[in-house]
Symmetry: C2
Subunit: 379 residues, 2 copies
C-alpha cells in the first residue's frame, strides 16, 4: 500500500517525547523523517532509560519513540555542518523542534531564517508554555505542566492529593496535535506555496484536553469537585466509577439507579431517587461499593450482560494481552535493532487504512547511521 504521506520530508530537531512523538506518527503515515542529532551526544532521549532497559547503545524508550526514522549527525556550532543543514532544510517540507524558546534563534534556525532558505516550509515549534509570560523559560516538563494546568485536580478522589495522570500525557498530546496542525498546514502550503509557522505548547494542549472542565467552570463559577469516593469524572453523577469486587475490579458507566439495581437487587439502593444521583453521589457510591465486594468479577459481569448494562471488568496489561478483544486488534509489531540482532515488541500505529493495519517494523536509527546516505541522495 502506498502510504498517504509518501514524498513528505520531515526534519526533526527534537528530543524526549513531544517532538519525537509527532515525528513517529508522520513516519508511520509514510513521511521520511530525519532526526538531526549532535555527532557525539546524539538525541538526549538515547540516554534516558527507564528500568534500565536498553537496546544497543540507546534506551528502549528511545528505540520505541524513534523507530522508522533516520539519523543525520550535525554539530550546530560548526559552520560547515550548519551549511549542510541549510541545504537539507531547503529540501524539507516540515521542520519540528521542541527546544526552549531562544535556542533555535541563537543558531539562526528560527522561522524567519529558515523561511529565507525554504519559503514553503511548515515550521513547528513545541514549547512548554508558549514564548511569552513568566513560565516561558521554565522547563517544559510533563509533570510540571500537568501541575500548572489544573489537570491533577480532575483525577483521584476528593481526599487524595491532586493526582497526575501516570504517563506523559502533555508530551504525547502536544505531539499528536502537532501532527494535526502540520498536516493542515501542508494542505495549505501545497495550494499557495507559502510557509507556515506553527506554535504549540504542552500547557495549551492540556488546557484543550480539559475544555469541558474549563467551560463548565466559566459558566457556573464553581470548580468541578472530584467525588469523595470512586471518582471517575467530576462532572458525572453516581454510579459512574471503578469499584472493587471480591476478586477484582469493575467499571460502571452511566446508567440510572433503577437500571443498576436490576443487577444489584438492593433494598438500600431503592431508597435513593434519580434526583439524588448528583447531590448524594458519595453516599450512593459507598452503598454500591459495599454490595459489590460480596461477589467476584465474573458474577457481576454475567449479571451486567443479562441486563445489558454498561459495565466492564478492569484489566491489567497481562490480562489484556491474553484477552481475545485485544488480540483481535493485532496491535503488536516486532522491531529489529538497527544493528540487526535483538528484537523488541512494541505497538503499531492505531489506524486501519482501507482494511489494512499500519505496521512499520523499521528500527530506530543508530546515531549518525544515515548521514552519508542522506548527503548523497538529497544534497
Amino acid at each position: 500500500m502506498k502510504l498517504p504521506l509518501e514524498g513528505v520530508l520531515v526534519l526533526e530537531f527534537a528530543q524526549y517525547l513531544s517532538g519525537p512523538c509527532a515525528g513517529l506518527r508522520l513516519a508511520d503515515l509514510g513521511a521520511r523523517v530525519i532526526k538531526i542529532e549532535h555527532p557525539e551526544k546524539g538525541e538526549a532521549g538515547r540516554k534516558l532509560s527507564i528500568k534500565n532497559l536498553w537496546l544497543d547503545d540507546s534506551s528502549l524508550l528511545f528505540n520505541t519513540i524513534n523507530r522508522n526514522k533516520e539519523s543525520f549527525a550535525a554539530d550546530m556550532n560548526n559552520a560547515e555542518d550548519m551549511e549542510t543543514l541549510r541545504r537539507l532544510i531547503a529540501r524539507a517540507h516540515v521542520l519540528i523542534h521542541n527546544f526552549r524558546p531562544g535556542v533555535m534563534e541563537k543558531r539562526m534556525l528560527d522561522y524567519e531564517s529558515v523561511k529565507a532558505i525554504n519559503p514553503s516550509i511548515v515550521y513547528t515549534q513545541i514549547s512548554g508554555y508558549g514564548s511569552k509570560g513568566p513560565w516561558a523559560k521554565k522547563p517544559g516538563q510533563d509533570l510540571l505542566v500537568q501541575a500548572l494546568s489544573g489537570l491533577a485536580f480532575t483525577t483521584g478522589s476528593y481526599e487524595d492529593n491532586p493526582t497526575p495522570l501516570g504517563l506523559g500525557i502533555g508530551d504525547y498530546l502536544c505531539g499528536n496535535q502537532a501532527v494535526q496542525f502540520i498536516l493542515a498546514a501542508l494542505i495549505r502550503s501545497r495550494k499557495n506555496g507559502k510557509g507556515t509557522l506553527l506554535e504549540l505548547s504542552l500547557l495549551e494542549s492540556l488546557i484543550d484536553l480539559q475544555f469541558e472542565f474549563f467551560t463548565t467552570y466559566f459558566a457556573s463559577g464553581k470548580m468541578p469537585e472530584r467525588a469523595h469516593h470512586h471518582n471517575a469524572h467530576s462532572l458525572l453523577s453516581a454510579p459512574y466509577g471503578i469499584y472493587k469486587t471480591s476478586d477484582g475490579f469493575i467499571a460502571i458507566a452511566m446508567m440510572s439507579l433503577q437500571q443498576l439495581n436490576k443487577m444489584m437487587e438492593s433494598q438500600v439502593l431503592t431508597q435513593f431517587s434519580e434526583g439524588d444521583v448528583f447531590s448524594k453521589r458519595d453516599e450512593i457510591k459507598v452503598v454500591i461499593a459495599d454490595l459489590l465486594l460480596h461477589h467476584p468479577n465474573d458474577f457481576w459481569i454475567q449479571k451486567a450482560q443479562i441486563f445489558d448494562l454498561w459495565i466492564m471488568p478492569v484489566l491489567n496489561w497481562k490480562q489484556m494481552k491474553t484477552s481475545k478483544g485485544y488480540q483481535v486488534l493485532e496491535m503488536e509489531q516486532e522491531i529489529a535493532s538497527s544493528k540487526g540482532g535483538k528484537k523488541i515488541t512494541t505497538t503499531r500505529c492505531p489506524i486501519r487504512i482501507n482494511n489494512k493495519k499500519l505496521y512499520a517494523g523499521k528500527a530506530a536509527p543508530a546515531l549518525n547511521e544515515h548521514t552519508q546516505q542522506i548527503k548523497q541522495s538529497l544534497l
Copy 2:
C-alpha cells in the same frame, strides 16, 4: 487570515464526544462541518447535560463541542431524506461517524455504498473496540474502554483501586487522532483522487497512549507497578511526584537526590544514594513528603528557583485563571448562542498559526438551523 482547511467539506454523523471532537478541530482549522441530525431528536449530546447547565435547548457541553458547525436535519429512515443525503455526500470530502458497527451498514451508508456515490471520500469510522472480536458490539464508552485498556493501572498509587483519568480521555484522544488520519488521507486523495476508509477505535487510541508501558512490559515481562506513595509515573524513580506542603501542593520532576537536597537540606535524605532511587522509591518519597509538610508552597518554590530545580506549584482552575502564565496565552473566547442572547466562554483551538491565535466564536447550531441554506448552496 485564510485558514488551512478552507474549502474542505465535512459531514459529521456523530454524537457525544469522539466524533464531534474531530469535527470541532477540523472546523477550527477552516473546514465547513455539517452535523447530520435527526429532525426531531437531534444529536444525542444535545440532551446530555452535566451539572444541569444548558444554553437555549441544548446542553452546555453540546454547545462547547459543536461550536463552529452547521446543522442539517435528515431522517435516515425516510427515503426522500436519504436521497438528499446522498446528494450531499457527493459534494463532501470527509465523512465521520461514530455509530456502533452495523448501524451505517443498515442505512446503506457504509464505506462501499458511500464510495459508489463519491469515489474520493475520506470515510472515517470511530468505534469502541474495532469491528471484530468479543467487544465489537459492546458500548464504546470512555470509562469502559479505560477499564479494559490497562490505563487505570497507570494512575493513582499502589494501594488505590485502579484509577481512571477523570475525563473522557479515550473519546478526546480518538477524535484527535481521527483528525491526523483524515488530513493525511486528504493529502493522498488530492494526489490520486482515490477514496480512503479510516477505522479508529477508542481502545486502539488508549493502547497507543500507553505505548511506553506496553513496550516496557513486553521487554521485561514485568508489569509496571505504581509507586506506593505519590505515584506520578510507574516507570520513573523518586522523587518524581506531587507532594503536599503546609498550605498547598508542589510537583517535583526528574532530578537527583543531591540536587533536591540543595533545597531540602535534610540529613536523612543524604543516607540514600543515587542507586536507591528506584529500589527504595517509596521510602525516599515518604521522607520527602514529611519534610515538605513543614513549609508553605511559596517557601519551596522560592528555594527551587534559587537552585534552578524542576519544581512547580500545583494549581487548581481558579488559581490558574488568575495566573499571568495562563493569561498570556489568551485561551478564552466568547461564543454567542445561535439564538443570539446569552454567551458562554470556552477555550480556543490550542495553536498559533503565523503568530495568530486561532479563535472561532461561531455558536453551535440550533437543530435544523442550516438545512435550507445548505440545500440551496450545495444541492
